[in-house]
């Protein structure tokens, strides 16, 4: 198994799918000549040429719409947003066109396209550029939403997303691009909607996704030294959600903490807690707790930003609380 960065894993997935199916093409701001703002499309212009690796003007709504049109006539576009903060301008195409086309055309138009780009906070990019959008997007019927946390999941999920006939929102992480991990050699596919148990333990379940999966794994390793063993359920896809994996874990541990990058109100965790109370009511020994960003726009100041973000310390405190250890 090769050790790759998250960035290289994504590039591999793009290259393999571009080679596999010539209806696949990539477009977005600076994806071609500049090799991508985060270098995810490095080398692809040289290999596939300007008809398939397409630079666009700074017009999110416009090129998202071009992508929707291309998908309607049978191509498989991959639309890169420089970040999901900028993609807000394109939400009309994502939500009102891509997500609804199959439904409103009575099944006549499939929408085999991917909207991808970095999501969530990096470091000191301040309030407008430090936002996690998955709960907004997962709210929409018609979309699928992937949030890979590791290089292996990034590659496997992106390949599934490109091959899927529905519009898939693919949320990467600026802070994740340089992280490394083992990626299986050869054809590596991760199905959409299947969670992975990244650590196992009987004492508590931590349910998470995206960048926070890394935090949860670190927490698991730290707590193991204290004799506390936790399940880390990495959802990997937040729509559809793998409810069975959540139930299986919580029914085993009888307690749960839901960890996410975004805000509390109507966050992904709200939905996960709802599934837990419905599926696992009689298995719960403690209220389910959530760890998330504080309910404020992301501060610019370093100390305040640190205080506002969910982290390992907050997660450990929540785990100990649901275990009645504090």
């Amino acid at each position: 198994m090769a050790v790759l960065t998250y960035r290289d894993a994504l590039t591999q997935a793009l290259r393999e799918e571009l080679q596999r199916d010539d209806s696949v093409f990539l477009m977005g701001e600076e994806v071609a000549q500049y090799n991508g703002a985060y270098k995810v499309s490095k080398g692809l212009l040289d290999e596939f040429g300007p008809m398939r690796i397409v630079d666009t003007p700074i017009t999110e709504l416009g090129f998202a719409g071009v992508g929707v049109g291309a998908a309607m006539v049978g191509l498989r576009p991959i639309v890169e947003f420089m970040t999901w903060n900028f993609a807000l301008l394109a939400l009309d195409e994502v939500v009102n066109a891509a997500a609804k086309m199959l439904y409103m055309s009575g099944g006549q138009y499939k929408m085999p396209m991917v909207f991808r780009g970095p999501n969530g906070a990096a470091l000191q990019l301040s309030a407008q550029h430090s936002q996690a959008w998955e709960s907004w997007l997962a709210h929409i019927p018609g979309l699928k939403v992937c949030t890979p946390g590791t290089p292996a999941d990034a590659k496997g999920l992106l390949k599934s997303a490109i091959r899927d006939d529905n519009p898939v929102v693919f949320l990467e992480g600026e802070m994740l691009y340089n992280t490394k991990g083992e990626v299986p050699d050869g054809e590596h596919i991760v199905p959409l909607g299947v969670a992975e148990l990244k650590r196992t333990g009987d004492h508590c379940s931590v349910i998470t996704h995206g960048k926070m999966a890394l935090v949860a794994m670190r927490v698991a390793d730290d707590l193991a030294k204290e004799g506390i063993n936790i399940d880390v359920v990495d959802l990997r896809t937040v729509r559809p959600i793998d409810v069975e994996a959540i139930s299986r874990s919580v029914q085993k541990t009888n307690r749960a903490v839901v960890l996410e990058e975004g805000w509390e109100i109507c966050g992904m965790g709200s939905q996960v807690v709802d599934f837990i109370q419905r599926e696992c009511f009689d298995d719960l020994d403690a209220p389910v707790l959530r760890v998330h960003q504080e309910d404020v726009p992301m501060p610019y100041a370093k100390n305040l930003e640190r205080a506002a973000k969910p982290d390992a310390g907050k997660t450990i405190a929540a785990i100990k609380k649901v275990m009645y250890l504090d």
Binding site: N254, D282, D283, D285, A286
Partner: protein, 457 residues
Amino acid sequence: MATKVVMEALSPTMEEGRLVKWNKNEGDQIKSGDVLAEVETDKAVMELVARGDGVLRKRLANEGDASPVGTLLAVIANADENIDSIVGSAAPASTPAPAPAATPAATPAATSATPQTPAQSQGEASTPPQQKAPAGQSAAPARPAPPRPPGPPPAPRGNGASHPGASSAPGARQRSSPLARRLANERGIQLGAVQGTGPGGRIVKRDIENAKATGGGAGRSAAAERLASEGDFKDVPLTQIRKTIARRLTESNGPVPTFFLTAEYDATRGAELRTQLLEMGEQYKVSFNDIVIKAVALALAEHPEVNAHWLGDKIRHFNRIHVAMAVAVEDGLITPVLFDADRMTMWEISAKARELAKKARERKLTPDEYTGATFTVSNLGMFGIDQFTAIINPPEAGILAIGGVEEKPVVVDGQLEVRQRMRVTMSCDHRAVDGATGAKFLQTVKRYIENPLSLII
């Protein structure tokens, strides 16, 4: 850590208990297991045992007080520990009962037109009549410190999972996690007897596990254990026809749709056998009741479909035979159980039945001795009753009512003869037992009773 002493559910059906006598005084050093008090349940006088070590710091109930299960009765703690918050939260429970003789019958409420709600029957003798709510409404809202919250009386909740009567003070409800409630239910542990260690005294998983490990709480009674052991029963899933029978008959006839089968047996040989046994010596003496119990036990072994419980979604046929016998006591009746009665000799049945009846009259039966029956026999023959119908004790599927033995003219082989005869009437839960099933069972009982040697060999 302070230990709360609460009114525990000392019998399966107990909802409140009367504190008969304190055995310990405030300031006494207490060890876990010490008998703190005697409590009168709905069935017997039982011991209330300490579940923690320390000093008996505060007694919150007076002798004679009746308290709902879960009510805080006392606090055991270290000598210097601050127990104000615990005692404070239980203020209503410490309200002295009006009078030692505050039985419901003695209250003005009994003569009032107001229907007797549970809230009213809890020793509210001092409530002035003008404070009574209009008929049909609970009187509870008018009282400053109602022992139960206002509104309709809470429905029974199985194992005392909640204690609505504990207090009206906020936070005084016994909290427990869903998992703890489920585990307690599965293991037959009374939540009221468990000390919660979670936030606000919430009973959590570890408390249930500790209750089991230390034998704290009522634990799973030996009787429940007996009934639940693997392989001792066979669950029969309900077929559609059985479901329809159950539903239709319940609509027609109340929750337990009962029908009755009466048979007359010839007890002449039984009477002769008794006489002969008595001639052999006092130690061989048996009563007719013993003969009937033995005959019923052996017949049940041949008819497991009668030796059954109706469980709502299935019928449970037991392989072991636990026969309860109704015993009249001063103010009611109770049904102690002869466990594995089919395997007991007639004399063992006789001795055990006498012992249980004596304990019943002295109110000394423990819950283990009066729960866990698979079938019940009720005998009023000694009162000169020749035939009657008995009421089924759910979830049992049947009960057999035994009349007295008397001489009657009967035709035997075309000749009129005077024989000893007895009549039995079986009440059957029609959801579980059909007419023909019950009739076949009564035929088997007849075979044993009329051939009594088969009962002693």
